[in-house]
Amino acid sequence: MEWETVIGLEIHAQLATRSKIFSGAATVYGAEANVQACAVDLGLPGVLPVLNAKVVEMAIRFGLAVNAEIPSRSVFARKNYFYPDLPKGYQISQYEHPIVSKGRIDIKLEDGSTKTIGITRAHLEEDAGKSVHEGFGNFTGIDLNRAGTPLIEIVSEPDMRSAKEAVAYMKKIHSIVRYLEICDGNMQEGSFRCDANVSIRPKGQKEFGTRSELKNLNSFKFVELAINHEVERQIDILESGGKVIQETRLYDPNKNETRSMRSKEEANDYRYFPDPDLLPVEIDKETIERIRSTLPELPDAKKQRFMDEYRLSEYDSEILTANKDMAAYFEKAIQSADGEAKLCANWIMGDLSAVLNRENRDIMESPVTPEMLGGLILRIKDNTISSKIAKEIFEAMWDGEGDAGTIIEKKGLRQVTDAGAIEKLVDEVIVESPAQVEQYQNSTPEKQGKLIGYFVGQIMKKSQGKANPEQVNELLINKLKTD
């Protein structure tokens, strides 16, 4: 039977505020255990939450960026359950009245087509603390630094039909929250993570199958692996006559498998009710418009502009704009490169991305600044250097040896474009290679095209790569001609 996969994602993005959602404690990652937990975060008797106005603004920014409705009133609710790292015995979240309601975004599919994914809602909530199971003997340690960290939970419609679509959607949301500067998007630190609801159904069937919820998906790769694994598991069950049970499953990236956490029957009754300690959040039209006017250019719009303004392909534009910092880098580089968009794009997507990946660094901390890269490209364009030499200069810039001009002068890498000097080298090589000359001259024009590479190579060697390859080529063809 042919099966269709149905996926919905719940993405948790940590909002990039300095202080927590309901207290003044700091949110910096990686501090010593419990030093960033104040009386409110500890849930001491008598303390009360006070909403951080910043998170409301950030949530509205997100809502506007995904074409969502912003209800005039939203309400915080308590989600009640017991857990040692949940200090109050309830999590302050939103339930019936989230701050962001229906929205949608477009994702690009592999075949180049566009698909709209619905966003059901996005709501604000506080994160819990962390249980530490190692190093305390028979006890469990509790670190409440993370307790009260603001999160926005973004719930999608069950609109995705493959793991690849789910990843594309997640990447798009990731890109948007970073464009908006409301989340640092750091997945290793857990600032951006997701749960996936996965079910399958016979192709053509309207009703959804029974779903399982996959927890703990903290990288794009794991999302894809976990969903694919889960789909196979469900197909195996159904094809062997079994039934999928509704349950929560935990993904284990080390074993690439999911295992059951709890079934629907064991699920908590969270007893949601409006939090009487917090007033409903009222948002008027003026506030929404004020925030709308501060929105930055978003990925889709930027991509279109790159295509229109810089005449880049859709593919290049997509890659350059997926990351806001990369897009900004590109636009700065272009200014220093006299508008050489295509060369800039190639260098950024090629050599720069490769070395950033290799060194695991962010484009913002690249030692080769956009101005330096632009300068390098200018030197290629005005024939001071060849593309090959440019790669060498790029490595030197990365190693901190200065800008392109400095390195060219210091290392004497200026391309030789003096026709006389090149001609001298060409003549030398021809004299030194009688056998190759004879072979060349007795070959068909097609074969000659290949054989000429030998002479070019020899000449470049003699010139230490500095001879202009186009000039070399031209001279060679002329000199080897047998009329």
Binding site: A39, L42, G43, L44, P45, G46, V47, L48, P49, V50, L51, R78, N80, F82, P84, P87, K88, G89, Y90, I142, D269, R271, Y272, F273, P276, D277, L278, L279
Partner: protein, 484 residues
């Protein structure tokens, strides 16, 4: 010295007839002795008190004294006090030393008051008799076989027995007014949001409100001046400007429109109580007030609504007492579930557990709509009914409690009757209105309180009416035998 109220003590201190330290020593001694009989304090804090008294004396000597500098006060043990045990009347918090001051405490400290100790109360403020306290019942100074009311029973008894001129209380369904009535003192429950709830251990967050328990309305006004106001740490506190609550005390009440709800005076009310309230109202008529009958039909629903809303909130508010971070933890838990079950099972008393279970039930999937949601709807009806009534009259007057103080153990096994002792007070909390209970007569040697309910933020008016009433009556001056 103990007979003096705040207004009188201020004079004595300012004239340096006595220093704050001397006064504090006298008060501490009297409290320590009498507490052995009445059990109205959970903690008496001499070191803390004498330190504050010394500071108060410095201020007085420098001429920087305010209207409350050096005045002794007792704090209900529901308010967090930095470095001092804050038990909330529960075994669960018997070992809890609060690391911070509640806003109310902070404000009273800043006003130069001297905290003598922390008063006994029903466990987590759940009770109307002070019998649910882990520290044992408080005795009513008027009759030591009887309860002082609750949950602020320790505060009421301490003020009635002339141990302190003022104590703080909190009122979720009548916990300031009912004990004030049963102990013959003045108790003001302000408008919801007028007093910060920060640092006041939550029972039912949408109903809880702190307030003063004093012998006179004038003293209550002095305390209100110190504690009322917006607090950025409490999102539900009101931003309305704070008035000088003493300013209108002596205003005339001629032309005051009083509404008497017929539902408050039906056949269920002890006729003697009804007579006392009507006599009290007559005194106000003599001062120029006009009386008319009104109807509050929704008030009959207030007890069932209250016993859905308050337990629902408490079931969630008390979830933090889990034995993990502070408070009582059972011995040798086997696993997490055992830690939770036994810490909570052993740490909470019967009444608290009963309410947690009711609250958990009414919030459960499948019951939420039928109980919690419906209760919230009726709560709105009750509020609207009050609003309407208060658009026609200035204040609503009735009894505070259906009878005088009952005997210890009389109602302990009859929670429904116990709950009904709050029948005239809970609807005020549901509506968020201010109300004051003032002594209005005696019945069989026991005091009876009259409740005056006002519109939102009408505390100055309530204090004005209460003060004028106290100028022409003597009920608030009566002291229980042996304590005068």
């Amino acid at each position: 010295m103990h007979k003096k109220n705040i207004a009188e003590l201020v004079q004595v201190l300012q004239h340096r007839d006595i220093s704050s330290v001397e006064l504090t020593r006298l008060v501490l001694e009297r409290c320590t002795n009498i507490n052995q009989k009445l059990n109205c304090f959970i903690s008496i804090t001499p070191e803390h008190a004498l330190l504050q008294a010394k500071l108060a004396d410095e201020k007085i000597n420098q001429g920087n004294a305010g209207p409350l500098t050096g005045i002794p006060i007792a704090q209900k043990d529901i308010f967090c006090t930095d470095g001092v045990k804050t038990s909330c009347g529960s075994k669960m918090l018997d070992n809890f030393i609060a690391p911070y001051d509640a806003t109310v405490v902070e404000k009273l400290n800043n006003a130069g008051m001297v905290m003598i100790g922390k008063t006994n109360m029903d466990e987590f403020a759940m009770g109307s008799s002070n019998e649910t306290s882990f520290y044992g019942p408080v005795l009513n100074p008027w009759d030591m076989d009887r309860v002082p009311g609750g949950s602020s029973g320790g505060s009421a008894a301490a003020v009635a027995a002339r141990l302190v001129p003022v104590a703080t209380g909190t009122d979720t369904g009548g916990s300031i007014r009912q004990p004030a009535s049963l102990c013959g003192i003045t108790g003001l429950k302000p408008t919801y949001g007028r007093i910060s709830r920060y640092g006041m251990i939550a029972f039912a967050s949408s109903l809880d409100q702190g307030g003063p328990m004093t012998r006179t309305a004038e003293d209550a006004a002095l305390i209100m001046n110190a504690i009322a106001g917006f607090d950025e740490r409490d999102s539900t506190s009101a931003e309305n400007p704070v008035e000088d609550y003493t300013q209108h005390l002596n205003n005339s009440i001629a032309g005051l429109k009083i509404g008497l709800p017929k539902e408050y005076f039906d056949e269920q009310l002890n006729p003697d109580i009804g007579r006392i309230i009507h006599e009290g109202v007559k005194e106000l008529e003599k001062l120029g007030a006009n009386v008319k009958e009104i109807s509050l039909p929704g008030s009959k629903l207030s007890i069932p609504v209250y016993y859905v809303v308050a337990p629902a909130e408490c079931s969630s508010n008390l979830a933090r007492f889990d034995g993990v971070r502070f408070g009582y933890r059972c011995n040798d838990p086997e696993d997490l579930s055992d830690l939770y079950c036994r810490s909570r099972g052993e740490g909470f008393g019967r009444e608290v557990k009963r309410r947690i279970m009711i609250g958990t039930y009414v919030l459960s999937a499948g019951y939420y709509d039928a109980y919690y949601l419906k209760a919230q709807k009726i709560r709105r009806l009750i509020r609207d009914e009050f609003r309407q009534a208060l658009s026609k009259v200035d204040v609503i007057i009735g009894p505070t409690a259906p009878g005088p103080a009952f005997r210890i153990n009389e109602l302990l096994d009859d929670p429904i009757t116990m709950y009904l002792s709050d029948i005239y007070t809970v609807s005020v909390n549901l509506a968020g209105l201010p109300a004051i209970s003032i002594p209005a007569g005696m019945l069989g040697g026991l005091p009876v309180g009259m409740q005056v309910i006002g519109n939102y933020f009408a505390e100055p008016r309530l204090l004005n009416i209460a003060h004028r009433f106290q100028q022409v009556t003597h009920w608030h001056k009566l002291a229980p035998a042996g304590f005068d």
